[in-house]
Subunit: 251 residues, 2 copies
DNA sequence: TACCGCTTGTGAACGCATGCACAAAGTCGG
DNA sequence: CCGACTTTGTGCATGCGTTCACAAGCGGTA
C-alpha cells in the first residue's frame, strides 16, 4: 500500500489532512498505548535523550516491539530505518493525534475525599489538563479554595462550565448523585466524562464516558489469585495442565 | 468443542471442579464485566429483587444482552429458560468465580492526597477488601491513624504485610518511588498490585499488576473530542471521507 | 398431557487486535 | 560507490472477543 500524498483535494495542508484521516482508524487499544508512549518519550526528552529505537521504547513502555511499531504506524511514518525515531518528532506527532495541541479544561464535581485529591494533584495541569472548576452540593465547601480553585455550588454548573469552556467533567460524588450530576454536565455542553462513582451512566451518543472503578480492579486481581490458587491445587492433585482444547503439541 | 463433564479425574466435588476448570478459560474482558454485573445484582438484591432476565440485567449493566449471557455462560448455566436468573444464585456464583468467598487484605503505600482518599474510602471493606495496612516514608505521618488504621513506616513493610496477610498492594507514591515500593511489596509476598503512579512497573511473572492512569484516561477522552472535531470539519469542508487506502474514484 | 410463548445457552460467523517475519530503506565504514 | 548491517513499516496469519441467530428447555395453560 503506497501512501498517496499531494492529491490536494482538501483545503488543509496535506500532512495535517493525512493525520486527521488516520485518527479515525486508530484502534482504541492503540490510543491508550500511545498515551503511555507519550509519557515515556516526554521523560526521555527531559533526560536529554534525542533518539530512540522501537526496541528501547517498547521496553520502557512495557510492550512488545512489533506492537509498538504497529501503533506508531497508525499515526504515520516518522521513523528512520536503520536508526530509530527522533524523540521530539514523535512527541509532537502523538500530541497532535491525541488532540493535546490545545488545553482541555477540567471540572471536578464532588469535593470529598477523592475530589480533594484530584483538585490538589499537580499532574493534570502539567499535561495540558488544567482543573478550572470545582463543584459540590455542600454549602460548607462552597467558596473555599481547594488546590487554588474556589468551590462553586453545583447549581452554578451550567454557567460556570460554559464560561470556563470545560471540556472534561470528572464525577467524584457518591453513587446516587452521579447520574444527576452527569445529566447536568451534559446539558452544560460537556462531552467527555470521567466517572469514579460505581454506577453505569446513561448518556447521549455524542458524549464519551470513561469509568474508573477501583472495586472492579480489585475484583479482577482477586480473580487472578483465585485462579492461580486453583491451578496450584489442580497440579498438586496430579492434573497435567493440558489446555481445555487439549491440542497435542510438537509434530 | 464439547465441554466434558463427569470425567472424575479430580478429588474435589464435581461442581467445584467444573467451576475451577472454567475459571481458566474466562476472557479477561468478561471478568471485568462480571464484577460490574455483581455490583448491579447486589444492588438489586438489596432492593428486594429476586429474579432478573438477561435483558433487564444487561440494560442495568450497560451492555448487550447477548454479551451478558455469553459472559454468564463462562461461569456455568444457572438460569432458567423462559424465566431468567435468580439474583441470589447469580451473586453467589459470581462471587465464587471472582474469588470473593474470602477477604483480600489491602495495603496502601504512600499516604498523600490519594492515599488518604483511599484509606478513608468505605467502599472497599464493604466489598471484601479490608484495608489493613498503610505505609509511608514520611516520619511525620507514621503512627497517625488514617481511616482508623495507623500508618507504618515503609521499612516495616515486609513484616507487616506478612503478619496481616496482605494480598493486594496499592501504590500511591510519587512516580520515582513506585518501582522500589513495588519491589518491596513483591518481596513481602504480595502477588497483586494496583498502581496509581504513572510508571511502567517491572514485576516477576507470578505477580499481577493493574494500573490506573488518570492522565491516560483524559488523553483518551481528548483523542475522541479531537476526532469528533476533525470529522465535523471534514464534513463541513465537503470531504467525502474516503480512507487513506481509498480507491480513486473518477467517472 | 399437549401445546404455546418466553428466555436461556451456545455454535458459528465476523471483526478487531496481536505477533511474526521479512522486504524496504536507511546508515556507516571502507 | 558499494556492500554489510541495522531498524523500520507492514502484509499476513492467528487468536481473542463480540454479535447474531436459533434450538433447547422451562413454565404456564387448556
Ligand atoms: N475515595 C476513594 O478512594 C474512592 C475509591 C473508589 C471509588 N470512589 C467513589 O468516588 C466517589 C467519591 O468518593 P469520596 O470518597 O470522595 O466520597 P465523599 O463522600 O468523601 O465525597 C463526596 C462529595 O460529593 C458531594 N456531593 C454529594 N452529592 C452531590 C451532588 N449532587 N452534587 C455535587 N456534589 C455532591 C458531597 O458533598 C461530598 O463532598 C464515590 O462515588 C465513591 O464510590 C472513591
Ligand atoms: N492525587 C491524584 O489525584 C492523583 C491522580 C493521578 C495520579 N496520581 C498519582 O498517584 C501518586 C500519588 O499521588 P498523590 O497526589 O497522593 O501524591 P502525594 O505527594 O500527595 O503523596 C505521596 C505520598 O507518598 C509518600 N512517599 C514518597 N516516597 C515514598 C516511599 N518510597 N515509600 C512510601 N511512601 C512514600 C510521600 O511521603 C507522600 O505522603 C502519584 O504517583 C501521582 O502521580 C495521583
Amino acid at each position: 500500500m503506497v501512501s498517496q500524498r499531494g492529491e490536494g483535494e482538501t483545503t488543509t495542508t496535506p500532512a495535517e489532512a493525512a493525520d486527521k484521516e488516520r485518527a479515525r482508524a486508530i484502534p482504541e487499544a492503540a490510543v491508550a498505548r500511545l498515551a503511555v508512549y507519550l509519557r515515556v518519550l516526554s521523560g526521555m526528552a527531559e533526560s536529554g535523550v534525542t533518539a530512540v529505537s522501537s526496541e528501547e521504547l517498547s521496553q520502557a513502555a512495557g510492550v512488545n516491539a512489533a506492537k509498538l511499531r504497529k501503533d506508531l504506524s497508525y499515526i504515520g511514518s516518522y521513523g528512520t530505518r536503520g536508526v530509530g525515531y527522533d524523540v521530539e518528532v514523535l512527541v509532537s506527532h502523538i500530541e497532535r493525534i491525541l488532540g493535546l495541541t490545545r488545553n482541555h479544561s477540567v471540572a471536578v464535581v464532588g469535593i470529598g475525599n477523592l475530589g480533594h485529591a484530584l483538585a490538589n494533584y499537580g499532574g493534570f495541569p502539567g499535561r495540558g489538563f488544567p482543573v478550572t472548576a470545582l463543584f459540590d452540593v455542600d454549602a460548607d465547601l462552597v467558596g473555599i479554595p481547594v488546590g487554588g480553585i474556589p468551590v462553586n455550588h453545583i447549581d452554578e454548573i451550567t454557567e460556570v462550565c460554559l464560561e470556563r469552556e470545560v471540556s472534561i467533567g470528572v464525577i467524584a460524588t457518591p453513587p446516587p448523585a452521579a447520574q444527576s450530576v452527569c445529566d447536568r454536565l451534559v446539558s452544560a455542553g460537556v462531552q467527555c466524562i470521567l466517572n469514579f462513582a460505581p454506577v453505569v451512566l446513561q448518556v447521549p451518543d455524542n458524549v464519551e464516558v470513561r469509568k474508573v472503578d477501583l472495586a472492579v480492579e480489585m475484583q479482577i486481581l482477586s480473580f487472578h489469585v483465585a485462579r492461580r490458587a486453583d491451578e496450584a491445587a489442580s497440579v498438586s492433585v496430579g492434573n497435567n495442565g493440558l489446555g481445555v482444547d487439549g491440542m497435542v503439541i510438537r509434530p
